[in-house]
């Protein structure tokens, strides 16, 4: 296991060094005090893990002279954290890591913020979604599951997910539309809890991120049916028996035309100097070049896209529009 990883890590590191040669190292701006890294979600979730990992990498590899302080502001489905950033206009010592709640929270609750109140810094990765069922269930393929769902009375199949009117429920609604069935969506507070509820057979299926369910998969407790991406996952390493991340078929190939990826990106308050943004872009490039980061990406089968500048802004803009459409179709928009 660690062998392939190490090799990949070396490869990543070499790429980064090569990239570094073409980047002007002179940075006009540097943090002069502690940098506050806001997580608009609770402790222990995916965004929190990634933020603390980044904090650990920066400390361990001494990538910044000042310290990073991770602060969780989970209130109002993350609205608390984003409002903090919105109200810190011009402060270059604040960062925020996003989930899909950057788009969904203002749409679903009417809490007044939007990504346009923030400065996009970099996309670190995209988190994948996989359709899981309990390993004891008779459904080995998407087709078998869908047939059973169509045969059962509406609402009998239960989907466990994280939060309400967020990514998991959006996918659930898409799934209902694609199959013409009715699914009962049961919201929980965190992804780990959702995975265990599936193992305990309190729900029938989940759309957990890979990292949330991988431990249960390795232990043979849950079964992946398909991944909501346009191409299969990259990880070739064997996880459960002969299966690896790359053996999970895409949902599209199984007749479910649904694609959903979640942004793990970094934003700053509006009105910060461009030099500061450039500084953080360089910082995150260095973070991405470490073996610890490579390990996290492999464990969680992340889609390792990296974007900055206008590309990133354009991507975020399109993504917001897509969420608005998805949420509108699902009837999740705030009414007032």
């Amino acid at each position: 296991m660690s062998h392939t990883l190490r090799r990949r890590a070396v490869a990543v590191a070499l790429t980064a060094v090569a990239a570094g040669l073409f980047v002007t190292p002179a940075n006009a701006w540097e943090p002069t005090r502690n940098v506050e890294f806001i997580v608009p979600a609770g402790t222990g979730g995916g965004a929190d893990q990634m933020a603390r990992m980044i904090q650990g990498i920066i400390t361990k590899h001494n990538l910044m002279k000042q310290s990073v302080v991770v602060v969780n502001k989970a209130g109002g489905a993350g609205g608390e954290g984003f409002l903090d950033i919105k109200n810190s206009k011009g402060n270059p010592h604040k960062l925020v890591i996003t989930l899909s709640n950057l788009f969904t929270t203002p749409l679903a609750t009417g809490i007044p913020f939007s990504w346009k109140d923030l400065t996009p810094v970099a996309m670190l990765a995209l988190d994948e979604f996989v359709l899981w069922v309990n390993a004891d269930s008779p459904y080995k393929t998407v087709a078998e599951l869908v047939t059973a769902m169509k045969a059962a009375p509406p609402g009998q199949f239960k989907m466990g997910g994280t939060g309400s009117k967020q990514e998991d429920q959006i996918i659930t609604v898409a799934l209902e539309k694609a199959t013409g069935t009715k699914i009962t969506y049961v919201p929980y507070k965190g992804g780990g809890e959702v995975a265990v509820q599936l193992v305990g057979k309190h729900v029938d299926m989940t759309v957990n991120n890979p990292i949330e369910a991988v431990a249960q998969w390795r232990a043979g407790k849950v079964r992946p049916l398909c991944v909501f991406d346009s191409k299969p996952l990259a990880g070739k390493e064997k996880i459960a028996g002969d299966l690896s991340w790359s053996t999970i078929p895409t949902c599209k190939s199984q007749g479910l035309d649904i694609e959903y990826l979640m942004l793990r990106g970094i934003f700053m308050p509006a009105g910060v100097p461009k030099d500061a943004v450039d500084y953080y872009v360089e910082l995150f490039k260095k973070v991405r070049a470490t073996p610890e980061w490579a390990q996290l990406m492999a464990d969680g089968a992340f889609n390792q896209s990296f974007m900055t500048g206008p590309d990133y802004t354009k991507w975020v803009e399109a993504e917001e529009k897509r969420h608005r459409d998805l949420m509108k179709d699902a009837g999740f928009l705030a009414t007032n």
Binding site: R52, M53, T59, P187, V196, R218
Partner: protein, 500 residues
């Protein structure tokens, strides 16, 4: 018995000078963190987590878990001395711990609290050692309906346990539920009762309510009563530990029951706070001196502390074996495991034997080290009460304010704390009990969430709460606990009135 051999291997890993040093550092830091209200174990561990990335995973988890034990010990100190619970699970400790301190028995109360904590933790570690796989599968049976039944039992075992009229208890509890409903609703994702205010997005934090209601409220009351702690006259008595220890074995039944409640709540995972409340409520019911609870009964300190520590310790089991944290601190530790490259889950016990058994061994040693450290401090802690109130009150106020600020790094919380303090003062003056209010704030939204998740699953049918043996039994216990005071009230009315 394979577990014993593995455990010995674990001790071999832990017993290096370096790891023992981390253990002592962790405990001392943890006690400090536990003493400061607001800066809970979860925050403390989160702040120190990045410092441990360069250590080996085993050393790192020893340091961090010892902070956790230390915080569990430390939470009792301010509860007993100043009626300010440093941690949510030490709220129940204030009920009898603080009256004991007021009666000049602070040393005894502290000794009882620390010793009970140790007993609870030891019991839980033994359970983990012997029955880890079995216990993990028990936890899997807890879906939303089962969780709700546990919360239901916690509320029911609490109704009518105070001296106050039941109507006032229910009024206080309802106020607590209303406060708990403020903020984002998990089930629909909508904002509730925020009235457009962005400050109220995250609702009323339990810690801030507690610091205000208990800490500030207590200071206001004391000020009114003439700027002195009631009956503070207690000399520094270095032998208080031995004297208390001679008494403790008498309460073995309470300890054992509290251990069981604690382990159950830690594993399911409901957490240390309901465990301590439930244990206190049941001890009050079953004790021969039950009617004296709240006036300074040592049993009223033993019950919640034993259960809280047993729950806090056993909460690590579902984290390791299922990847689900049983407490906020466990959630942060879980993040740590992932960063160190360890994957919590069913296979951790098989693949990372050194780490798991090293951690379990460190639970044994960490708690022994912790007990020795805190017990030697008892006379000093007790002596704090000899400082004149006019000096210590402003210090407490400042600590409360800092504590309220650290919860979310938000100055609005400090204002909210003061408002809660004033509210606490008036509630106490009007003889409304604070405990049911606090219980409802801390468990209200969790109970509501579990209730509504259950109804979603059952598509609206209440039958789900009696759909299998496990949930029916717990609900049944809850109903018995609920009607017990009504029945004993009725019985009390039929017998001649006693002056109380």
């Amino acid at each position: 018995m394979e577990g014993i051999g593995d455990l010995m291997g674990g001790f071999a890993v832990v017993l290096s000078w370096q790891n023992l040093l981390y253990m002592v550092i962790g405990i001392v830091l943890g006690v400090i963190i536990g003493v400061l209200p607001g800066l809970g174990g979860a925050n403390g561990v989160a702040i120190l987590l990045p410092l441990t990335f360069s250590m080996s995973p085993t050393s790192a988890i020893i340091l961090l878990s010892c902070i956790y034990w230390g915080a569990l010990f430390g939470g009792a100190i301010t509860s007993i001395l100043f009626n300010i619970p440093g941690e949510p699970w030490s709220v129940a400790t204030t009920f009898d711990g603080h009256p004991m301190a007021q009666n000049g028995r602070a040393g005894e109360a502290l000794t009882a609290a620390f010793t009970s904590s140790f007993v609870g933790a030891l019991f839980a570690v033994i359970v983990i050692t012997l029955a880890a796989p079995l216990v993990a599968s028990f936890a899997l049976q807890f879906g939303p309906a089962e969780k709700f039944s546990v919360f239901f039992l916690a509320f029911c075992s609490f109704v009518g346990m105070g001296k106050e009229p039941p109507t006032k208890t229910i009024a206080a509890m309802m106020l607590g539920f209303a406060l708990a409903a403020v903020g984002t609703d998990t089930v629909t994702g909508q904002l509730r009762l925020t009235f457009g205010s962005t400050e109220l997005l995250s609702g009323f934090d339990f810690l801030i309510a507690v610091i205000g209601l208990f800490g500030i409220g207590e200071i206001l009351l004391t000020m009114e009563e003439g700027l002195s702690f009631k009956g503070k006259a207690s000399g520094i008595n270095p032998t208080v530990v031995w004297q208390t220890w001679k008494e403790l074995p008498r309460y073995w039944m309470t300890s054992l029951r509290s251990c069981l409640i604690g382990c159950w709540m830690g594993i399911t995972p409901a957490g240390a706070t309901p465990a301590s409340f439930m244990s206190y409520g049941i001890a009050k019911r079953t004790s021969r001196k039950g009617d004296k609870f709240g006036t300074g009964e040592i049993e009223g300190v033993i019950a919640p502390e034993t259960a809280a520590h047993a729950a806090g310790t056993s909460a690590l089991l579902p984290m390791l074996s299922l990847g689900v944290p049983g407490s906020p601190t466990a959630a942060v530790l879980l993040g740590g495991l992932l960063i160190w490259g360890l994957q919590p889950g069913p296979l951790l016990f098989v693949e990372q034997k050194d780490f798991v058994w090293g951690l379990i061994a460190s639970m044994y040693l960490g708690n022994i080290v912790g007990l020795v450290i805190v017990l030697t401090m008892v006379p000093f802690f007790a002596a704090i009460l000899r400082v004149p109130f006019s000096i210590i009150a402003p210090i407490i106020l400042v600590i409360c304010a800092i504590g309220a600020y650290t919860v979310h790094n938000n100055t609005f919380d400090v204002v909210m704390m003061l408002v809660f303090g004033i509210a606490g003062y008036f509630l106490k003056k009007c003889n409304y009990p604070l405990a049911p209010l606090v219980l409802a704030i801390v468990l209200g939204d969790k109970a509501e969430e579990a209730f509504r998740q259950s109804l979603l699953i059952s598509q609206g049918g209440l039958g789900i709460f009696f759909s299998n043996g496990l949930v029916s039994t717990i609900m049944g216990l809850g109903l018995i606990a609920l009607f017990w005071p009504a029945l004993s009230n009725l019985y009390g009315r039929l017998t001649p009135a006693r002056p109380t």
